[in-house]
């Protein structure tokens, strides 16, 4: 499971970094989304990977059978914030497209 998760994070980060270095705003936004998925999975990963372990604490419960709840709450916050800022970026992207007539990140095409 660790291997699958780390390959997933690696592939998404690699593609994300490649895409945010591309000159089109659409590529950049897809790249940022991929990167944020990778980061969210990464946060999950630092809590330790466990299957079928609830993040709940009862009296007398064995801590080793439970999942760490903190990374889960961190991930939830990160998802919400990441979603909101990506939506904001989308608005700016459209405004830039409307004002300049091109989807190049610099607002103008490279002279040929």
């Amino acid at each position: 499971m660790e291997l699958v998760l780390s390959i997933g994070i690696g592939v998404m980060t690699g593609s994300g970094v490649w895409l945010i270095l591309r000159p089109r705003t659409y590529q950049v936004i897809v790249g940022l989304s991929l990167l944020s998925y990778a980061v969210n999975l990464f946060i999950f990963g630092v809590g330790g990977l466990k299957v079928n372990a609830p993040p709940l604490l009862g009296t007398g419960a064995d801590v080793s059978t439970l999942a760490d709840p903190v990374p889960q709450s961190l991930v939830l916050t990160a998802i919400v914030i990441g979603f909101a800022t990506t939506a904001l970026f989308l608005v700016v992207l459209l405004a830039s497209r409307g004002l300049t007539g091109t989807d190049h990140v610099d607002g103008k095409e490279r002279p040929k």
Partner: protein, 542 residues
Amino acid sequence: MTGLSHHLIVAPILVPFVAAAILLFIDERSRVTKAMISLGATVIMLTVALLLLHMANGMENAAGNAGGVYLLGNWPAPFGIVLVLDRLSAMMLMLTATLAIPALAFSLARWHNSGAHFHTLFQLLLMGLNGAFLTGDLFNLFVFFEVMLAASYGLLLHGSGQLRVKAGLHYLVINLASALLFLVGVSLVYGTAGTLNMADLALRLPELAPDRRVFLEAGLAVLGVVFLIKAGVWPLNFWLPTAYSAAAAPVAGIFAILSKLGIYILLRLVMLTSGDGTALTEVARTVLLFGGLATITFGAIGVLASQALGRLAGYSVLVSTGTLLTIIGFGGQASASGALFYMVSSTLTIAAFFLLIELIERGQDAGASVLAVSMEVYGDADEDDADDEIGVTMPGTMAVLAVCFSACAILLSGLPPLSGFVAKFAILSGMIGSGAESDAAIGPAGWVSATLLILSGLCALIAMTRSGIRTFWASIEGTVPRVLVIEVAPVLMLLTLTLVLTIGAGPVMRYMQETTATLSEPRNYINAVFEARRIGQEAARP
């Protein structure tokens, strides 16, 4: 400390938050109401900041004084989220509030009309800043960072126009990417140290097993990169001059403190982990020193090369960042208290300069200005100016502007008699002068830093003289800009504050020295956080 005054600590977050929420419900057309609410909230914030400053100043250095720790949700320290008020955070709160009032007053002349929700975004920006200064928890810091950034995206785009949208796009992508890095850093720290509380982290740091330490150090390094991006260290700062010079004047004025937020966190983390006794702090200091030196050099070259005044101011922000980073990296209490003084002085100066630039460029030909877009906004605004007179058009406008401009030049280059000189003098005497606490020989780092510091002042002087002559003496059009009293008053207010800072340099420097003395004893901070009592618990004790 008990009672109501203790709850003041959370007020700098709540006041702008409530104000922003109320402002959302008021229609865009009732501008006066909105402006009054926004200004009122900011004045309350300034009062609270003053009280908190007084409170922090009264605190003793001795360990065990937990008066400045506020337990949100009444959970004890490593489990719940804490707000920590000490001298440094109180000073930053004060600086934010002092900067916010002139920027807001300036915007009342016309800027707050040129887009929707200006006041709401402004208040949210203040909330994010105050929260980030107060928090004692890394993840909470991330949340406040994002609140501040989200508001700053909106404010940067305020007034619209192609230039702003382009600069805003770059600013957004840079900050989204750095937010992701922030998350990576925070989760690495949590994964290895098992805590996000800064005090708890400093406590656990020396006890970690070496194989986990590697990851923790990597996490802290990633976090450091995020704050360096925010502060604008070379080579992560190419977005900064463009973004700051594209922003509307009052927005750029308040943005002057955004880069100082990165510096604040770096200073806090470096100081907290300095009790660790390993190579970690040494490495961090070296990076900061060299990054700072490179940033000063880059900023000074940029200042010399700038054609437009807006870019000149943007590069001045970089010089200021570089100076502060160099001194944090250099270490030493005497120069660090000078650096804090410099931080206050340069933030006020740069904010005043950003506001002033807009007034000066208003008189110039739209084609001659790089800020052609904002000139278009004025073209529209000038027409309804006659019926919508807020203040009196001043006679001798150019003279007032020229005086302000020369004051800015003196402050930026660090010449006497204003506070820029006092700040640089304090820094240099801490580095190479009699103020240095050890008798050890001054190393090459000290000499290089001191030389670059003085040279950057010279560059600022040359650039400011050149632009001053071009603007005031050799102006081609010779048109006098229409400037309202309410627009020039904030600039004068900020410049007067630097004068006050010069006259009151003694008490202010004493405060800064106490601040650095407190910071250099991380045990104070850690003990204060852990000894904070829950409210119920406190009542139960005799």
